[in-house]
Symmetry: C2
DNA sequence: AAATTCTTTGAGACTCATTCTCAACAACAT
DNA sequence: ATGTTGTTGAGAATGAGTCTCAAAGAATTT
């Protein structure tokens, strides 16, 4: 935590930026879990903890962190973004159409094929968006 | 054209819906090209052709057609949807980060692996979103 | 520790895509 | 042709995200 704080302060300083309680709290909040959170969830989590922060700051800070590769931004086709910690490795997502459960997956062969496809089409691949949507077989899922 | 009109009329009738000049025009407009168009583009194309239509109708009709598998809806991460004809086969997209050129691709092995991944994770796969983003090697692209 | 500098924040206005409301309109069956 | 009922248009409403600007507060300097 305290080493984390120093970390963030250092990273920001390189770009002439300052660390603040709000920035630290937002990063800690995302790193605390592997969840995929949207802005409202993050905003209210911080509020509940008594941290003084505005929505504008949450939006600005998340964008800042995405640009500095401190967190990842997800677009799961909901009309809004979700954010996740970068403490886990790269992965893509399967989403249940019934209960919205988000499961992470990683397939090396698919990753390789994406590179091949990009090359074949004359592209230098920078990133990808890959989501599977389906029905999960969970007992607790409303479709069962 | 006229067989097309009869077609759409029949399809809609099955669900107790009616064909209208607006609906026919929107479907024709999308089927006319392989392009990936957003609502404003479609709306203004129709306006330019002198077709009386409102944005609300364009939105409603596109959703109706997506639900009836007459067209496909694309989310290329732009904060708005694009729509394309279903006269082409299934494919995914590579988007150039510099010139926004959209290239279609289709890789059978990736499609198979998506099925495997879904199965491994206890999902019955319904659909997927798969986009690659990179830099294209086009002469006309602003990054060259 | 105080002064200085310059970044950051909060509140609310604003934008943009999309959805909703409802009265007027118009397909289609009979 | 007429009636029933689905459809449209105009604009209000919504929701996510961005912008503005004065006040607040990091970090540096004295």
């Amino acid at each position: 935590m305290s080493s984390n704080k120093n970390n963030l302060t250092k990273i920001l300083k390189i770009s002439g930026l300052r660390n603040t309680p709000q920035r630290q709290a937002i990063l800690d909040e995302l790193n605390r879990t592997r969840d995929h959170r949207d802005v409202e969830e993050i905003y209210f989590s911080l509020k509940k903890k008594g941290i003084k922060v505005s929505r504008a700051t949450v939006y600005r800070t998340l964008e800042l962190f995405v640009n500095h590769y401190l967190i990842r931004r997800l677009d799961l086709g909901e009309g809004k973004y979700r954010y996740e910690s970068r403490e886990s490795d790269h992965h893509d997502h399967i989403v249940c159409l019934d209960c919205n459960k988000i499961t992470e997956f990683m397939n090396n062969r698919i990753e390789e094929l994406q590179e091949e496809v990009a090359q074949e089409n004359g592209f230098f691949l920078k990133r990808h968006v890959h989501q599977l949507f389906g029905h999960c077989l969970n007992e607790t899922c409303p479709n069962k």
